[in-house]
Assembly symmetry: none
DNA sequence: TAACCCCGTTTAAAATAGTAATCAACCTTG
DNA sequence: CAAGGTTGATTACTATTTTAAACGGGGTTA
């Protein structure tokens, strides 16, 4: 039986071993939980066999970890953890919303500084009349938020809604979208996107 | 040859057909570009065969699309975008914080339902004395949040901080962490993590 | 109608993934 | 040191994927 490395670029074996050991599981224990044999896990981790996605899913389900997570990018860096209210990074809205008619009346405060994060959290404040303009489309990922006070009109694709306190949103960043404050009252919200788009 | 559906839950076939047709490619054309046979693509799309990850990768490379993208949230699915305050999904804190001494006094409301999202946004409410317990370590990704009112003690690794209104945090989910409300006042915050861990 | 070109599906053979069992090596504990 | 437990790796054997080549259908053109 010739033994040969099958997928040098797609190192499933290394990744699987990494997640398994991080979970402090033995091959046998993971095999028991996932319903495959320990031999298979050994072969996968040593790249002696390239699993079917069905098998890989069964194994990851026992972690549990999604296939998307498994194939996703390794997060690496660390940095500051806590940020005081006045430490938040103020961001110029005109740098973000290029063609916004009323960008000046938007205040953005970002949690953390590094561009190397997977998650970007913003405190956003929209004065009456504030308008981001229709953003063509940003990068892959998702964007969501939670309205704290006031009202904001959110346009995503051809869907339009006005959200109030306690309301929230979540959408695919690739769809063109726009935020507008139509009311006389300031609107405040907390948003998050992944990965950072600016 | 008995024909049977193999993976009803993990509908690779449907997904692959979706991305292929969106690329305006025929099975044969995609087969030519990826180096597999058109028959295989047909069988995968009809769920008559469950591909190895190696095969799936070869096919996706010809799109091109990463495995993470492929298994990520459906780029096509019509997820809801806006969620009214009372539509938020209430989550049982005991399901999230397994060994929490005071999990019952934590209220969690999630934006969106699907487990297939890249971004999980939560509205969290900690009663006085609430405690998540030290979470051993969750999965890869980042976690961040923004304190709206009250005070919360956040322990990440060996770093301890108490955060108040306007303060925020952001850290690597793999580091053990804990939230505790030491005060007499309710603490409310909005958090986000990527990717979803539950 | 026939001849052609594309499409997606199906079929028998070849290649490979997956199983069950065994192996040697490493800890513990007595 | 020996017994009993664990670990990860390896081996024949079986089940499944994957290939290569057909099949049947729907257009277009002559």
């Amino acid at each position: 039986m010739p033994v040969q490395a099958k997928q040098p670029d797609l190192n499933i074996g290394h990744r699987l071993r990494a997640v398994r050991t991080q979970e402090r599981l033995s091959q046998r224990e993971l095999a028991r939980r996932s319903g495959v044999t320990n031999g298979l896990i050994s072969q996968i981790e040593t790249n002696h066999s390239s699993p079917s996605v069905a098998s890989l899913k069964r194994i990851l389900d026992a972690i549990p970890m999604s296939l998307a997570e498994f194939f996703g990018p390794d997060s690496e860096d660390r940095g500051k953890i806590c940020f005081r209210a006045r430490e938040l990074l103020e961001i110029d809205p005109r740098m973000v919303f290029r063609n916004a008619p009323q960008a000046a009346s938007i205040a953005l405060h970002q949690v953390g500084i590094g561009p190397n994060r997977m998650l970007q959290i913003l405190h956003e404040r929209y004065e009456p009349g504030a308008d981001t303009g229709m953003e063509k489309y940003s990068h892959e990922g998702e964007e969501g938020g939670f309205v704290l006070s006031g009202w904001i009109e959110l346009t995503v694709g051809d869907e339009v809604n006005e959200l109030g306190p306690g309301d929230a949103y979540l959408f695919d960043s690739r769809i063109p979208h726009r935020f507008r404050n139509l009311r006389d009252e300031v609107c405040v919200l907390v948003s998050a996107c992944t990965p950072p788009s600016f």
